[in-house]
């Protein structure tokens, strides 16, 4: 039915923070059920791209279609309802909320159009991240870094969003937790979620992604599929210094 409409289709996206022009015409398409990774150096505009999708930058121009719906002119609070969940780099766990309140905070999206992936139940999320169940009543920011990251990702899985924007979820975490997150991404993919990741940790992202985009100076400079990864390594080394 809606299978051939991309989950996310960005055309000629420009975004500003105040006077500074950060994104210079980003073009990006993510098909349903794909895992796509945005690579690039710090400051290349990857986080800004995610924030611009959510309407969290200053002025925006261009086109952002989420599950087929144009959202460029919408206020931030309406955008999520087109079926998108955002996990910011800073995790944004609320200190005045308990772990459980944090998990239950994002409202279940009513208008999640084309939502063929129903949100996970609380029990499913606790099954995936048992630590969170044990720490239900703890203050959100008293959790460890890894637990906070699980919470930040877990809470957007409840809402029925089928397009997930995950910004640097592996950053600064112990290897065992990074592995748990990698298993989670594979599981989400199996369940039909569409995932866009910003990753610095190339070794985390490389085996997970179907396709890669490379950003530099606020624009996409390279795009290739996972199968081309080996052939592209020299270019990547130059672009990323990995």
């Amino acid at each position: 039915m809606t299978a051939n409409i991309p989950a996310l289709e960005i055309k000629d996206l420009h975004a500003w923070y105040g006077e500074s022009h950060i994104l210079h015409g980003v073009d990006l398409t993510v098909n349903r059920g794909e895992v796509v990774t945005l690579l690039g150096r710090n400051g290349a505009g990857r986080t800004t791209t995610m924030r611009a999708i959510m309407g969290l930058t200053g002025a925006r121009k261009g086109s952002i279609r989420i599950n087929g719906n144009e959202t460029i002119g919408l206020p931030t609070h309406k955008i999520a309802h087109y079926g998108i969940g955002y996990c910011p780099e800073e995790r944004a766990i609320f200190s005045s909320l308990s772990c459980e309140e944090n998990l239950l905070l994002p409202p279940v999206l009513k208008g999640a159009r084309g939502g063929d992936t129903p949100g996970m139940s609380e029990a499913e999320i606790y099954e995936m991240f048992p630590n969170l169940r044990e720490r239900k009543q703890s203050q959100g920011t008293r959790l460890s870094g890894g637990e906070q990251q699980m919470l930040a990702v877990g809470r957007i899985l409840r809402t029925g969003a089928n397009l997930l924007l995950l910004d640097e979820i592996s950053e600064g975490l112990a290897p065992v937790i990074v592995q748990a997150l990698a298993r989670m991404i594979l599981m989400l993919k199996k369940k039909g979620y569409t995932v866009v990741m910003v990753e610095q940790n190339f070794r985390f992202a490389a085996p997970l992604a179907d396709r890669f985009y490379v950003m530099e100076h606020g624009a996409i400079v390279e795009r290739f599929a996972a199968s081309e990864l080996q052939a592209k390594m020299p270019v990547l080394n130059e672009l990323l210094g990995v």
Partner: protein, 295 residues
Amino acid sequence: MNFDIGIPLPALLSQLLLGLVNGAFYAMLSLGLAVIFGLLNVINFAHGALFMLGAVLAWAGMEYAGLNYWIMLLVSPLVVGMIGVVIEKSMLRWIYKLDHIYGLLLTLGITLVIEGVMRSAYGVSGLPYSPPDALQGATDLGFMMLPNYRAWVVGASVVVCLATWFTIEKTKLGAYLRAGTENPKIVEAFGVNVPLMVTLTYGFGVALAAFAGVLAAPVIQVSPLMGQNLIIVVFAVVVIGGMGSIMGSIVTGLALGVIEGLTKVFYPQASATVVFFIMVIVLMLRPAGLFGKEK
């Protein structure tokens, strides 16, 4: 019966009650200020004027439309709440990104307009307003006479304050509010209509002030200046309690009312300054206030 301190117990208790009544007003007003500051980042100087407006509306309802106290106890906060919604949508909305001082100046300006209009309409001599029949008189508790209306004021405001506390700390709506206070942008990205929440929060905060105003109408003289006299002390209460905590502002409000009342008994000369004296000490020892979190 006399204590060693030489104050007759009934006199002490009646001052204590008077202190609690004032404390109840401090608590309701500082609670509203704290909730508004938390989400809007605006120091709402207009709070005193809207408290006054609540009381004047109660008087006007009786005077012009024959609406009694109980009706106005509902209508007045609703009307003032709606005025708050208009103020937020038409003016405050534009200054959130600016320094606090702009919010303070804007709301001070709004205060001057409201008070000026009321002053030219009603002058500055008080308007008479008596408590409803059901709450007139006093109850003999054996050891003191308890004026019914004052007991009602304390009871009603404690209930309202606790209900507000419960809503903010224990419900889903309150979780949105707390999260919005910390990081409104992310809450909005989750699909919560934060701008609407901000508008309604301001409306609720000032409705609380109007509710306090109606409660105050029979005990403080209804006058365009009644808010001015109170709001300065309320700001001191907010500074003492700290902005961070809802329960903190309730407890601080009541406690300072009582301390003020007791000062009237033991050292009347200091009763007008004791709150500010405490403020100075608290600021020296805990700059963020008794319940505030250091940022």
